[in-house]
């Protein structure tokens, strides 16, 4: 039992290191080779965890071999278009100029129902509004609507947009987030001044987000948004 506990901790650490070395990706965004390596790593890791007869080093070596292969393949796919095509395949245009390409759909084994479902997933409920639809290598569908069906932007309706940037959390749970404050090029005093103008104190704030143009959002502890 003790040995299984220790082995599990060791394998957990090595699997985590391996996955971190491979880089951050969500399962759905993975390329085929990344998905295969992730599944294999999880499978390989369980063998020395469950079977105490097996040396842990065999599992660790297998994990790192997979990680090395994955990194080398990802570098090669970055450098060579041909290699990328072989390893990851190519995106396929399913709808072109409003015309469904049935041959392309057959090639990717996609049915009309699949296409409708994927369009709905993209908030497109009327297929006639689609100008282009591309099936990406990770299996997601990228959709471009006809110009007439695209939502109007502020530019289209000639309204001047208010300047805004990415809001960063500057206070969470009553504590300053130093990294965000320095990333915005301000000081804690600047944040405090804003709070004072609203008669609030830091310790009462659940979340405060701020952008570089001074736009902010405040949520007090125990209060509704």
């Amino acid at each position: 039992m003790n040995i299984i506990l220790i082995r599990t901790i060791i394998m957990y650490l090595f699997v985590t290191i391996g996955i971190r070395l491979m880089g951050k990706r969500q399962i759905g965004d993975m390329q085929p080779n990344e998905l295969v390596v992730t599944f294999l790593i999880s499978e390989v890791a369980t063998i020395p965890m469950q079977d105490v007869e097996q040396p842990v080093i065999n599992g660790i070596a297998a994990i790192f071999v997979l990680v090395v292969i994955e990194i080398i393949i990802s570098v090669l796919t970055m450098k060579s278009i041909k290699f990328r095509k072989i390893m990851n395949g190519q995106s396929k245009v399913i709808i072109k100029n409003g015309q469904i390409d049935e041959q392309a759909m057959k090639k990717v084994r996609m049915t009309a129902v699949d296409l409708i479902e994927m369009l709905r997933d993209r908030d497109v409920f009327d297929i006639s509004t689609v100008a282009y639809a591309v099936l990406e290598v990770d299996g997601t569908l990228t959709v471009m609507l006809n110009p007439a069906d695209q939502p109007a932007t502020l530019k289209d309706i000639k309204i001047k947009a208010k300047k805004s940037g990415i809001q960063l959390p500057v206070i969470t749970d009553g504590k300053f987030i130093e990294e965000s404050i320095s990333a915005l090029g301000i000081t804690k005093n600047d944040v405090n001044k804003r709070l004072k103008s609203k008669n609030k104190s830091v310790d009462k704030i659940f979340l405060m987000t701020l952008d570089r143009y001074g736009n902010y959002n405040l949520i007090e502890k125990g209060k509704k948004i």
């Binding site: 070395l21 880089g23 105490v52 007869e53 097996q54 040396p55 080093i57 065999n58 070596a61 790192f64 071999v65 990680v67 090395v68 990194i71 080398i72 990802s74 570098v75």
Partner: protein, 123 residues
Amino acid sequence: MSRLIIAIILAVALIALSGFSYYFVNNAYKTVSDNIELCKKAFLSGENTVNACQNAKDDWEKKGKILDLFTPHSITDEISESLARLYPLAETESDEFLAECAKIKQKVKIIKRDFQINLRSIF
């Protein structure tokens, strides 16, 4: 780029580990085989069999600890058991001693064979 460097370092470390394990298993095979041959000779001549067995056991204890890192523990445990069984048999004139020696040699040979790169080991 840093990931690629880490991958290269890992690859080198894995190759080094693989090379070391291959060398170590071959070395352990040779040591155990030689020791078992000495035990057999001593047994057949009736001289210093216990000492030869002790040497074989001592050498195995050193090698076995590291071998456990690369090979399934069950096989190294079986070799340890067989070596321990040689003592009581050394003082008899039973053929079981020779049979036990052959068993040990065979088991070490299996470990060595599993480390050889050939179609059988791979598939």
